[in-house]
Each structure stands twice: as C-alpha cells, then as structure tokens.
C-alpha cells in the first residue's frame, strides 16, 4: 500500500539555508547543498527546497541552485518551491532536476499559468503552497508578499478541487519553528477534506505527528528546523512512529565505508 511520507524541508534565504521562525526571524545554517545531501543520505521520503525570497523580490526561480543540486546525484525525490512565475519556469525546473514543483505567488497572480503547468507536467508534479492560520474559528490564507490574510477564495477552492494540482502544502506560518506548534485545526477544518495535504510548520513532537498521520486527508508531514539538531533525525522520528503507515526507517549509504579488497 501507498505509504505516507516524511518530507525533509530546507529553507533558503539569500542563498543560505536558514532556520525560519514564524516567517519573521531567520538563523543561518550553512550551504543548502550540505543540508540537502544530508537529507538524501538519511533517507528522507522527499526533500522540499523552498527559496523564500524569490517570489517576494520577483527574482524568479533559483535555477543555479537547482543546477547545483542536480549535480549532487540525489536519490531522493526533490520538490522545489520559490519564485515560479510561468509555465516555462516550471518546465525548466523539472528539466533541471526537480521532480515536483510548488506554486505559491502564482496562486495569487495567474491561475491560467497554473492550469497550463498542470496540462504540461501533469497534476502530480504540482503542489500548491498555502500559509494558513486558524483565526477566530476560520482558516485564513496569508498573502506573505502583502502581509495580509483572508479567507480562501472560491476560485482557489475550485482550482484545488478540480485536480489541477495534486497536493496542498499547508504551512502553519504563525507556529513555524516553534516546538509542538502546528495547529491541528488547519488540517481538520481545511475546507476541502478530499484533497491530500502536506502538513508543515512547528512539527517536532511525535505524538503530534502521529495525530496528523492518522488523518485521512494528510498524505505527508514536512519537517524543517527540527531535522537540523541531530544526525539521522528523520529516521529517528520514523522509529518513534513505527505504527504509522510510513516507509520503514532505513540507515544506509551508497558510499561504502569499507574499501573493496
């Protein structure tokens, strides 16, 4: 049977991998390539690389980063997010090595390009990114460029429900980076319950991960900051979640430590 996934997230700002706290504070971690290599070596189910300053500064996708990551020979599916403005941007990212792409600002700016991307690459390659919060009994969607929040529009609901995109990355942006922060209401009250969700933001407690993984509309959980504190963190989480429908924890490397004799 199809397993649910644990996605390792690398957040990048100004070319550096960073820890992100509530979409406001950032601590540098190092070169993105090193973190991505670690997640690949540690057997993440998917790796999400999100470059958070591309859309806000209208810089377009970071193609050079993708080229560098493509050169690493990753054996883990790679998801790219950040700055995708058009169909041609998306196609180029796939050609450079992304297996799937995340659209964010395009959901606000140009839904026809979203449909074109889906027709060209297939909906399975497209993930919608939605920074959400649970406010006064309702889910609000943050437009992070304008720093304003609103209810999810019917037009966006329609494009999600129609199957133009395959999954929604729901980020609890208010609790991002905070231990045990993810607000379960974002998943349980998400208006489209048949749409597969990737839950992200403040996830580090295995009890909380288990509750999310038991939700039928959650296809994956994504973890960022909390993978940076110890080796093989993703597999240690999986060991603690052994009764969840996840791929088993694996500890192996393609690079043998023993010389052939």
């Amino acid at each position: 049977m199809l397993k649910k996934r644990v996605v390792g997230v690398v957040t990048i700002k100004n070319g550096w991998a960073v820890q992100s706290f509530g979409y406001r504070q950032y601590l540098p971690l190092g070169k993105p390539e090193h973190l991505v290599e670690n997640l690949d070596r540690w057997g993440a189910d998917e790796i999400l690389v999100q470059v958070i300053d591309r859309s806000a500064n209208n810089l377009g996708p970071d193609f050079e980063l993708l080229e560098r990551l493509g050169g690493l020979g990753l054996e883990t599916p790679l998801i790219y997010a950040g700055g995708i403005r058009s169909e041609s941007d998306g196609v180029k990212l796939i050609q450079l090595g992304a297996d799937r792409i995340v659209i964010d600002s395009l959901l606000h700016d140009d839904l026809s390009s979203v449909r074109q991307l889906s027709a060209r690459l297939g909906a399975q390659a497209l993930i919608a990114s939605m920074p959400l919060s649970w406010q006064d009994g309702a889910i609000e969607w943050l437009n992070y460029r304008q720093r304003s929040a609103s209810l999810i529009s019917p037009e966006i609901m329609n494009i999600i429900e129609s199957g133009v995109i395959s999954e929604v990355l729901v980020t609890d942006w208010m609790h991002e980076g905070k231990s045990g922060g993810f607000d379960q209401n974002i998943v349980s009250q998400f208006p489209l319950q048949n749409v597969p969700l990737i839950a992200f933001g403040g996830l580090n407690a295995t009890e909380q991960m288990a509750i999310l993984l038991q939700q039928s509309n959650v296809s994956a959980i994504a973890v960022g900051n909390f993978l940076s504190y110890k080796e093989h963190a993703i597999q240690k989480f999986k060991e603690l979640l052994a009764d969840m429908p996840l791929r088993l924890a694996v500890y192996e490397s393609k690079w043998s430590l023993l010389a052939d004799v």
Partner: protein
C-alpha cells in the same frame, strides 16, 4: 576491462541528470543522446520521461526515434522505460486524447481508476517469476503518476496496490518498463537498476 554502456534516450522531455547519476554510481558508462549513431554504440537503451504522453511521443517523432526504437526492440536490444518512458512502450495512451505509442509492449495507458494520482512510496509485488525482479519483490519504490498501463496479463510482471492493483512493471523479452522512479528510490532503486541492466545485457 569491458564496461557496460547505458544509452539514455534524450528526447527533450524531463530530467536525465538523475538517471545518469544513478547508472554512473553503479559503475556503468553513460551516454545521453538523441543521435542514432551514439545510441547504437551502447549496450542498453533507457527511456526516461516526465510529463504528458502526447508531447513525449511528439518529441520522439520529431527526432526520428520512433522507428529506431521499434527496430531495436525487434532486434532484441535491451530497453528500459522509466515512468512516462514505461508508458511510451505501450501501444497507445488516453492521456488528454488518444495517442499511439511505441507499441513495443501491447497494452494501453489509462487514467488511474480509484484515485486521481499515485504519489509516494509504494510496495512492488511480483506476480510472475522473473529473476531480474526477484530481489525487488516486496520493496518500496517512489511513484509519481496519474495514468497507468493496462494490457495482457502475460506482460505484467509486478503490481502495486492503490488500493486496487495497478501495473508497476511490464516486460516483453528484452524490453522492460517500470512505472516508478528507481533513480529516486534510494537503495532499492539502485539494486533494481543494477539487476535489470546486468540481467538484460548479459541474457
């Protein structure tokens, strides 16, 4: 010392870099080309692919590769199709509209029946005995597709469940197609690719 050389068919669709790295890491030489002369100098052809079936077939026709690949299959040349590359091996696809395929393995590519897509790690179950795939029976691989092969049972070697069975590996002689991405399936993918290449080349 003789090396096995893998020829990756470059028809402009999808990312060949990951596939190239996988084969190189396994110790094979790799050539990426749309040129018949280059591809003919290799021991085994690999047809990767990401995207939609009609545009992929269009790209193969544009590069005059359809007849070449059909001729190579007739001559029992080993060919591996990966993901969309597997679907291209079939007779036709119903993605967007009806499009004829390479017709190397009889069958058609249809939308998934019980879900819109199949994304993530799933187990592969062998339903036929095949020494090239025995080591992969029960292992998990990464899938990312919304259409799948339907055809005669004799060509279906492995299935996966989502929750209904879908064909995950097809084979007709020296032509093998895998619906998942072995190049993105870590150790299990590496083992499968090694067994397929060595088994097909040295058959």
């Amino acid at each position: 010392m003789s090396y096995t050389t893998v020829g990756i068919v470059d028809y402009g669709i999808g990312n060949h870099t990951s596939v190239m790295h996988s084969f190189r890491d396994l110790g094979f030489r790799v050539r990426i080309s749309a040129g018949i002369k280059v591809l003919s100098s290799t021991d085994i052809l690999v047809l990767p692919g990401v995207g939609a079936f009609p545009s992929a077939m269009h790209a193969l026709h544009q590069r005059d590769l359809v007849g070449y690949l059909q001729e190579q299959a007739r001559e029992q040349r080993p060919i591996i199709g990966i993901c969309l590359g597997m679907q291209l091996l079939a007779s036709a696809s119903h993605e967007h509209h009806f499009t004829t395929g390479l017709n190397l393995i009889p069958g058609e590519v249809m939308p998934l029946t019980h879900s819109k897509w199949h994304i993530g790690w799933n187990t592969v179950e062998c339903i036929q005995e095949d020494p090239l795939l025995q080591a992969s029976d029960g292992e998990s691989f990464y899938f990312n597709h919304s259409f799948s092969y339907q055809g005669p049972a004799e060509y279906q070697v492995c299935i996966s469940r989502h929750p209904e069975p879908l064909t995950s590996v097809i084979r007709r002689g020296s032509v093998v197609g895998v619906q998942f991405h072995p190049e993105k399936s870590q150790a299990t993918g590496r083992t499968l690719l090694k067994n397929l290449v060595e088994g097909l080349v040295h058959a």
